[in-house]
Amino acid sequence: MIEMLRYDFMWRALIAALLVGLAAPAVGTFIVQRRLALLGDGIGHVALTGVALGFLTGTAPVLTAVAVAVLGAVAIELVRARGRTTGDVALALMFYGGIAGGVLLIGLAPGGSNSTLTSYLFGSISSVSAQDVWVIAVLAAFVLGVVAIFGRELFVLCQDEEVAKVNGLPVRFLSLLIAITAALTVVIAMRVVGLLLVSALMVVPVATSQQVTRGFSTTMLLAMALGVASTIGGLTSAFYASVAPGAAIVLLALAGFVLALGVGRFVRRGRAQETGP
């Protein structure tokens, strides 16, 4: 732990990892609750077009990725709200369109090639700049703020949209808010684990957490703890073992899930005996 703290780039990477580890599972809990686990993947693919657009226009790729990811998330939400049956097809179209758009645009960009995109597809946390850290910090603060301020309403919305409506909640606004928050989370996580693995940080800690929890808020808090443990742990082991940080983070999160499966089964059995059949 000590040796890696001597490098400035590792400090930046650790801060980014911490923020992503907190934000992604917090949003992920609502997304999994809404049974939209693949939403993050859809947005991630679309964000690739945004990244390429940044290179093409000479703008910071993070900013164009934010813009395109938000547009994509809003589009997915609108399609979902219109008719549920076409929701997964819309998501699939996003997958293909996003990747194809990204590859096409990067080819048009001066000096751009598919390898330019690789660091965005698979993450490159060690090259996070000070400016990136600021962007990630602001976005993470926004995401965590949304969860803190609107969490109660989002819980009702994700339980049952019609009940939310009869409770007088602004259903359309909240649905867009959650889609936009997911899009921002994807962009934050893009540098850390890469667009192809972004969704893992939104879904896997939540899936792990709910193996051993009973309630929604405890699931979310444990998922956030697990998220931080995997991003910091994955980054640390990547530093010492010289492996890809994004992959190390996701594999660590998945290992946690496998472990929790066993623990969860054990815990549930214990409780069943305690409460009786």
Binding site: Q33, R34, R35, R152, Q159, E162, V166, N167, F216
Partner: protein, 274 residues
């Protein structure tokens, strides 16, 4: 429209005569996917009434209450909720909605207490901390449906009937004065049916307005003050509750009980609960 139910001593207690009807619809038409589901509904439900909407599957029962709440848009006619069109209604804390589906929750577990506490949302604005009053209302709602001991359990561990009681407790927690329940008895075991009837009785005692859709009333039948029978998207009968008819199942009373009451053969009367 039959005003007989109001004459039967169920006039609202607190509200002056000028109070608008809790629910009103005139010439209400609803089409779903181009298929007419409601074809000209005229209905007024006053504060303090306990109304059961009955009818066969596909008669438009659920669509009617959904249209009254503004969840399904009208293709013709008007609807009002406490005197205001649902789209412009603001006092949503007054309405407690118990949806039909039993599947509570989604991909993430939630405890019984969390789901019930979420019923406070219309009274608990953004950034307002949970108060002692909120907690008391939730505790009271849990007690009313007999699930206090299960408060810490995930909803998914409960039986279908118990989950239905959770949904009712969620509506109770908001302390509304108007309840809308979509098939609260569907697929509910006998114990939960009794709990439900007990909860309903205490609501009736406090003069709450209740509008419920039911396939079978079971032990709730004696509490109903008025029944509205739908068939083919129209009101076939509006007036005396079927409990009366159920007590006298003689052929001579058949004309008061249109045969379209329940083609699928579910028990409609108190006999089911005896």
């Amino acid at each position: 429209m039959t005003p007989s139910a109001q004459a039967a001593g169920v006039a609202p207690r607190e509200s002056p005569p000028a109070t608008p009807a809790a629910f009103a619809m005139s010439a209400g038409h609803v089409s779903l996917d181009g298929r007419p589901v409601l074809r000209g509904i005229d209905l007024r439900i006053h504060a303090g009434e306990v109304v059961a909407v009955l009818g066969a599957n596909g008669s438009g029962k659920s669509t009617l209450i959904r249209a009254l709440l503004g969840l399904t848009p009208l293709s013709g006619g008007t609807a009002e909720l406490h005197g205001v069109a649902p789209g412009r209604f603001r006092d949503w804390w007054r309405v407690g909605y118990v949806p039909q589906r039993l599947s509570i929750g989604g991909g993430v577990p939630a405890t019984v207490r969390e789901v019930v506490a979420s019923g406070r949302i219309a009274r608990q604005r953004r950034l307002r901390r949970t108060s002692a009053g909120d907690r008391a209302a939730v505790a009271h709602a849990l007690e009313a449906v007999g699930l206090t001991e299960r408060a810490g359990d995930p909803v998914g561990w409960l039986s279908g009937g118990q989950q239905q009681r959770v949904l009712i407790a969620r509506a109770l927690a908001g302390e509304p004065d108007t309840f809308v329940m979509d098939e609260p008895t569907a697929g509910v075991d006998a114990e939960s049916q009794l709990h439900l009837a007990g909860t309903l009785a205490s609501l009736v005692e406090r003069g709450r307005t209740v509008l419920l859709v039911a396939h079978e009333l079971g032990p709730m039948a004696p509490l109903i003050t008025r029944s509205v029978v739908l068939g083919g998207g129209r009101i076939l009968h509006d007036g005396a509750p079927p409990a009366d008819a159920g007590c006298h199942p003689h052929p001579g009373h058949e004309q008061a009980r249109p045969h379209v009451y329940d083609v699928s053969g579910g028990p409609m009367s108190t006999e089911a609960g005896q």
